[in-house]
Symmetry: C2
Subunit: 192 residues, 2 copies
DNA sequence: ATATCCTTGGAACGTTCGGTCCACGAGCGG
DNA sequence: CCGCTCGTGGACCGAACGTTCCAAGGATAT
């Protein structure tokens, strides 16, 4: 059970780091600051994190990976075409709402990653975009959606991703409601 | 004419800084690095910039201010309701395409600003969002657009702002075309 | 030629950076 | 009570940080 203790502690430190990175930026947050916030000295801190960049990688990777896993699961379920798109949107917004700090770090700071770490995160991000393309193509094939330019995926993702900046958990609307609201507008159009 | 020399040099340095900040982050870019890139020693550099944070402020403020000025101009012109919204979108995407580095810095790094500088930038940003709200309300009043939740402004801005990450000037589509493509989808809807 | 001002490079400041290292202490199976 | 592992604090490292300062260069007006 000491293994569990280690992992739990590592996760705790990474969570604290996500908050700090989100507030002050990756380069703007010092190791000393992180140590103080975690109540750990330099030695203990490095025992858990390995390096500062490893923390950034862990924060970034985990979110994208979890969204990829969720998308893969949905695509396997062969749902109604519109329902598939709606579920992907709801899943993303739910995750963003639950992990705002982590998503803020991911969106703003993934460029601070170097080498393979950077490549992995970028690849994972592109994979996610690919799943969205699949979902929309699926809708077109089922004649539920109009044929629209590929670029629209970027627009939809922009609409959804941007929520990390303004969505307040505990506000009027749940993440699911926001997702539906956006998709209603997009699918039905907003012309009078 | 020496005044012009000073301002031109300052603008040149700020432009170079925008590229560096966009690539390596604000905290990730050193004064030494900026000096080397600008071909200036420490003394000359500070003669033009005052401080590092002043550079970040200048980069951030200029873009938002210019979009606010543009929006105010359009709102004064009493255009057709749909045309107004389309022009605001085109104007924003044209500006983003022309100043990708500056917008990247603004979106990712404005949180690094402190005190009044931070307040000013945030206020200017909110003002811009207000203009979009006006433009959409205008469309509803003219019965061109359906009544939609206020929150949709966030979605539209997310869609448009996100382009700073992927739009390649000189690619297949002009900024105007991308703006129209997004607004077509949103206004007409994408249901088959 | 002189005085004035803008511009400039580079030394130097104290601080903080991310990371390493080591000695010590707690826990524990033998 | 030994010997070993794991967890830990803090001293310490060289490098880099943003900023200040100053002496001198260059140009222009008198």
């Amino acid at each position: 059970m000491t293994v569990t203790g280690f992992e739990a502690n590592r996760a705790r430190v990474i969570g604290i780091a996500a908050e700090l990175f989100a507030r002050n930026g990756y380069h703007g947050t010092g190791i000393a600051e992180l140590g103080t916030a975690a109540g750990l000295g330099r030695g203990a801190l490095y025992h858990y994190i390995g390096s500062k960049e490893a923390v950034l990688y862990a924060i970034s990777k985990e979110q994208v990976d979890s969204m990829n896993a969720y998308a893969e699961q949905l695509l396997d379920e062969d749902l109604d075409a519109e329902e598939l798109v709606r579920r992907m949107a709801r899943g993303l917004l739910r995750n963003i709402a639950e992990h705002r700090a982590e998503w803020a770090v991911f969106f703003r700071e993934y460029t601070a990653l170097t080498g393979e770490w950077r490549d992995h995160v970028i690849t994972a991000r592109e994979r996610y975009e690919g799943y969205w393309r699949q979902a929309l193509d699926n809708g077109v094939r089922a004649k539920v959606l109009r044929q629209t330019p590929r670029l629209l995926v970027k627009g939809i993702l922009g609409m959804l991703n941007y929520t990390y900046l303004w969505y307040e958990p505990g506000g009027e609307l749940t993440p699911d409601e926001v997702a539906d609201l956006f998709l209603d507008a997009l699918i039905e159009g907003i012309r009078a």
